[in-house]
Amino acid sequence: MAGDDLKTLVLADLHAELGAKFVPFAGYSMPVQYARGVMGEHLWTRENAGLFDVSHMGQVMLPDGSDAALEALVPIDVMGLAEGRQRYGFFTNEQGGVLDDLMIARVPGGLFLVVNAACKDADIAHLRAHINGVETIEGRALLALQGPKAEAALTQVIPEAGQMRFMDSARLDWNGVELWISRSGYTGEDGYEISMPDAEADAFARALLADDRVEPIGLGARDSLRLEAGLPLYGQDMDPSISPVEAGQAWAIGKVRRAGGGRAGGFPGADTILDQISNKPPRRRVGLLPDGRAPMRAGVEIFASEDAATPIGVITSGGFGPTLGAPMALALIDAATPTDAVLYGDVRGKRLPATQTKLPFTPPGYKR
């Protein structure tokens, strides 16, 4: 099951006890599903509360006074981030592409970052090359509790968590243990992401799982949940060759960092990215609803007609939406494509029609 180099999660025994199937992912042996299966876990999370182990992700602290240095790496308004608040952002490269996406929270003592597992070593090297005092947080597990009943379940053990709103970040006590909590997630649902010392993770996870509303959820459902929510996956929907504007993430670039703003530009690839915001990027991200039941998965080429010779784009993420009850996909297409055009995905040599649609595919449940 686990290769020699595969790292194991501190909660691996708990996952096994809960019936997890493990797969290698980003260098870790990760639970991909439990007995309920991907579809059942997805639907459970949309109706109740799902507990995800995302301890593979990188946790990093930057000391107070790092704002300007971080703003030189991300097109985000870091200086305007208030204490106890969190923002979504991304590291960009000189070409205007994305090196990784991340969360940035203003916490006592500095900025707390959460980065993708597959990118964390490169991200940390990148940060260290530009910022003094970068501290990687080792020995803390990261769990996400997601779903409409996440608040009810978490407040059973941490009542103060109920006062947080979407994208708040707080340090709250649980039985004398300091938990670093944000009200955020990767499912489109209300929920929390909770960092805790490894030694407390098992007891804390069991305390949540003791609640009938909470079930463990694997990576499989995490992917279908985030896709229904229209949230990009780094490495698929965004990468070093795809700009955040093309990927539909320009909303995260604060006004102050845009052309005419008080701290306009000053991040890698700023010329390209700001030009794409002002004018138009060459490609745009679009949600697609295949007309039939056949899923269109990542890599499927998109054409403007049934017989066009050259593709106008490609699906970057695709699959079946359990809540949507139909296939869904994100595609990166030529920006000149009319927004009402029916597009065709080449699925095993057949051109199947798909309709462009607004994102997300399913309505969000955030508590703003």
């Binding site: 991907v38 579809m39 499989g220 899923p295 998965r297 095993r348």
Partner: protein, 120 residues
Amino acid sequence: MKYTEDHEWLRLDGDLIVVGITDHAATQLGDVVFVELPEIETQVAKGDEIVVIESVKAASDILAPLDGEIVEVNDALDANPALVNEDPMGDAWFFKLKVDDVRALDDYMTEDEYKDHIGD
């Protein structure tokens, strides 16, 4: 009932061979959301990819176990692909194949041999 290394079961029905996937395969696939069936009267060669099964996780193929002609497909799977998870060994058969000589089935595994194959 005979079994292939690709986790298909083959059942003799008169002079036809009915083809489905095993419980083991259905469990491994996870929730099936789409099945693409071949056209009736298609001539197939052993090893051809003739059915596509899409689960929430991935797409996989069913191969023709023998040379022959597709004479019937299970249209119930169009409307209800989840049948593959509910009754893989029974109602969720995929197609019926007419072959020259049903004795070719003898080359495939018995149930015991298949159980050894999957390490059950």
